[in-house]
C-alpha cells in the first residue's frame, strides 16, 4: 500500500502496478525513496526493477537489527539505475526467530558476497544462495556480531 505522497513517484507507482501485493509500504524522505517489500516477493520485485526499470546495479545489501522490536530484522537493498540516475532502497522485514529470505543472486551475481556478509554478521539466512558461508569471520565463530544483543565490550573469553 503506497502512501499518498508516493503516488506521483514513477518508480513507486510502476512497482505498485507490477505487483500491488508486494509493496507493503513506502516513504520518500530526504530525497531518498524507500519501499518496503513483502519478503517472499523480493526476487520477482528485484527482477522487475532490474530488467524493466533499468536498475542494473545492486549497490549494496545489508541488514538491520531492531531488537527487541518484532519483526526484528530488516534486509536492506540499495539499487541504482545509471540511465535514470536514480536510486531506490528496498526493505524486507523478517522475524527474530530463524530469519530467512530468498537470495537475489539469480538477479545480480554481485549479491553473493553482500548476502554472505549479512549472513555472517546478522545471521539472516538466504535461501538458494550458491555459497552461503561466513565471509568476514572464521567458520567456527559463534554468534553474529552486528546483532544488538551481541556485546561489544566482550564477555567472550
Amino acid at each position: 500500500m503506497l502512501p499518498e505522497n508516493l503516488n506521483e513517484n514513477p518508480t513507486a507507482t510502476a512497482l505498485a502496478a507490477f505487483d500491488g501485493a508486494a509493496v507493503v509500504s513506502g516513504k520518500f524522505d530526504r530525497g531518498e525513496l524507500t519501499i518496503e517489500i513483502a519478503p517472499e516477493k523480493i526476487v520477482s520485485v528485484c527482477g522487475f526493477l532490474k530488467y524493466d526499470l533499468g536498475f542494473v546495479r545492486l549497490s549494496t545489501v545489508t541488514g538491520m537489527d531492531w531488537y527487541p522490536a518484532e519483526p526484528r530484522f530488516e534486509v536492506v537493498y540499495h539499487l541504482h539505475s545509471i540511465d535514470r540516475n536514480e536510486r531506490v532502497r528496498l526493505k524486507c522485514r523478517l522475524p527474530g526467530k530463524d530469519p530467512e529470505i530468498d537470495s537475489v543472486t539469480e538477479v545480480w551475481r554481485g549479491a553473493n558476497w553482500f548476502e554472505r556478509e549479512t549472513f555472517d554478521l546478522f545471521g539472516v539466512k538466504f535461501r538458494n544462495h550458491p555459497d552461503l558461508r561466513r565471509i568476514m569471520l572464521p567458520d567456527d565463530w559463534e554468534g553474529h556480531p552486528l546483532r544488538k544483543d551481541y556485546s561489544i565490550t566482550g564477555d567472550r573469553v
Binding site: S59, W108, R109
Partner: protein, 412 residues
C-alpha cells in the same frame, strides 16, 4: 663415468605424458596465493586451481583484516565516528571522511559554507592523486618496473605533507568533521598547494615516459584481465575499472556532492577494458584531479569553515572562554554529543577506487543506530574469479593489481 647413464629429457618424457593422460582432477594442482603475498597488497588469499599454467578456478578468501568497524560505530558519538572512517580505506581517508560527513549532514539538514565545501573538494582530489600514485607505484613494481615506485612516492610525500599541514596527520587525517572542517585552513596552504600542483602534470609525464610506450609494460598489460561492462555491473564493480571498459559513469558528475558541479573536469574513458586501459584511465584521472585542485586553489571562496550550527559544531576557543552560551554548547557536545533526527540516509561518492556508500541510520540519539559501509574494494574483489579464470597464472598479479583494492576497505 662412461658406465653411468645420465637420463636425458626425452627419457623422462614418457612418464610425464603418462601422468598427463590421467584424469583431469589428478592433474590440477591447488595453489594458495596469500594471505601474506607481497603483491596482494594486504591480506587477500586466492585459492587457485591450476591446470598447468592456466587457472581453472579461483576462490578469493577475505576477512583477514576484519576489525568490526561497523559495530564500533554504534558506540561512538557521531563526531567521534569520523576517526573510524579514516581507518577503513587507509589510502583514501579523506574520501571516507567526506562520505560519512555528507551522510550525517544530510540527516541533520546542515548547510556547509562554500569555503569548507571547496576545501573538501580540493583535499579529496589530492587524496585521489595520493591513492592513484600508490596504486601506480605498487602495480608497476608488481609487474617489474622498479623505478616508477620511487617516482610516485616522491610526489606522494608532497601530498602527505599537505595533509599534515592541514590536519597534523599524514594519513589518518580526520580533517572533515560533521559541519565543516576540523580546523581553519592553515596559513600558507596556497603556496604549498600551488608549488605542488604546478609541477605535478610534468611529473605525470615522467611516469608516462617510463611506462606508456614501454614494450614490456604493454606486453604485460595489454589484453590482460579483460572484463565486459555487463559483467562488471552485474558483479558490482565500480570506479576506474568500469570507465576503462567504456561506461562514462562517475558520481562526481551524475550526482554531484560538495559543489563538484562548479568544477570543470572530464571523465576519462577507454573501451578496451584491459589492464592497460585501466592504467590509461587512472593516469588521465590524475591529470583531471590536478585540474580540479588548480581550480579550487584559484577560486577558493572566503568565509567560515564550519556551518552555522552551534548545537553541532564546537564553538571557537575564544567564545568558549568568554560566553556562557558557547561554554554550555561546548560542554554538551563534548560530553554527550549532538542528537541527530531519526531517519536513514544512503550517501555515495566517487572514491579513487569506485563507489563508496555510507548507509547511516539514526534513532534520534547521539550515537548512530547503525552505519553500513559499502566499500568499493568489497564489490570489486568479487570480480576476481570472473577476471582471472581461464587466464595464465603469470597474469594474475597484473589483473588483480589493476583492481586497486585496499583490504581494509574490503574487510572493514
Amino acid at each position: 663415468m662412461s658406465d653411468t647413464v645420465i637420463p636425458t629429457i626425452p627419457d623422462l618424457a614418457p612418464g610425464v605424458e603418462a601422468e598427463k593422460a590421467t584424469s583431469a582432477k589428478a592433474r590440477n594442482i591447488t595453489l594458495n596465493m596469500g594471505p601474506q603475498h607481497p603483491s596482494t597488497h594486504g591480506v587477500l588469499r586466492l585459492q587457485l586451481e591450476l591446470d598447468g599454467e592456466t587457472i581453472v578456478k579461483c576462490r578469493p578468501d577475505i576477512g583477514y583484516l576484519h576489525t568490526g568497524i561497523e559495530k564500533e560505530f554504534e558506540v561512538k558519538t557521531y563526531q567521534q565516528a569520523v576517526t573510524l572512517t579514516d581507518r577503513i580505506d587507509y589510502l583514501a581517508p579523506l574520501s571516507n571522511n567526506l562520505c560519512y560527513c555528507l551522510a550525517v549532514e544530510k540527516l541533520l539538514g546542515l548547510e556547509i559554507p562554500p569555503l569548507a565545501q571547496w576545501t573538501r573538494v580540493m583535499l579529496t582530489e589530492l587524496t585521489r592523486l595520493n591513492s592513484h600514485l600508490v596504486w601506480l607505484g605498487t602495480h608497476a613494481i608488481d609487474i617489474g618496473a622498479m623505478s616508477v615506485f620511487l617516482y610516485c612516492f616522491r610526489e606522494r610525500e608532497d601530498i602527505l605533507r599537505i595533509f599534515e599541514m592541514y590536519s597534523g596527520q599524514r594519513m589518518m587525517t580526520s580533517y572533515f568533521r560533521i559541519g565543516g572542517l576540523a580546523l581553519e585552513p592553515p596559513r600558507g596552504w596556497q603556496q604549498r598547494v600551488r608549488t605542488f600542483i604546478e609541477t605535478f602534470p610534468s611529473k605525470v609525464d615522467e611516469y608516462e615516459e617510463l611506462l606508456t610506450n614501454n614494450r614490456i609494460w604493454i606486453g604485460r598489460t595489454r589484453g590482460i584481465g579483460y572484463m565486459s561492462i555487463e559483467d562488471m555491473l552485474d558483479l558490482g564493480i565500480t570506479g576506474p575499472m568500469l570507465r576503462a571498459a567504456g561506461l562514462q559513469y562517475d558520481a562526481r558528475k551524475s550526482q554531484p556532492y560538495s559543489s563538484y558541479e562548479k568544477f570543470d573536469f572530464e571523465i576519462p574513458t577507454k573501451t578496451e577494458g584491459d589492464v592497460y586501459a585501466r592504467y590509461q584511465v587512472r593516469i588521465e584521472e590524475m591529470r583531471q584531479s590536478a585540474r580540479i585542485v588548480k581550480q579550487a586553489l584559484e577560486g577558493m571562496p572566503g568565509g567560515r569553515w564550519t556551518a552555522d550550527a552551534p548545537h553541532v559544531v564546537l564553538p571557537d576557543r575564544e567564545k568558549m572562554k568568554t560566553q556562557m552560551e558557547a561554554l554550555i554548547y561546548h560542554f554538551k557536545i563534548v560530553t554527550e554529543g549532538f542528537r541527530v533526527p531519526a531517519g536513514e540516509v544512503y550517501q555515495t561518492i566517487e572514491s579513487p577506487r569506485g563507489e563508496v556508500g555510507y548507509y547511516v541510520v539514526s534513532d534520534g540519539t547521539t550515537h548512530p543506530y547503525r552505519v553500513h559501509v559499502r566499500g568499493p574494494s568489497f564489490g570489486n574483489l568479487q570480480g576476481v574469479p570472473r577476471m582471472v579464470e581461464g587466464t595464465l597464472i603469470a597474469d594474475v598479479i597484473a589483473s588483480i593489481g589493476s583492481m586497486d583494492f585496499v583490504l581494509g576497505d574490503c574487510d572493514r
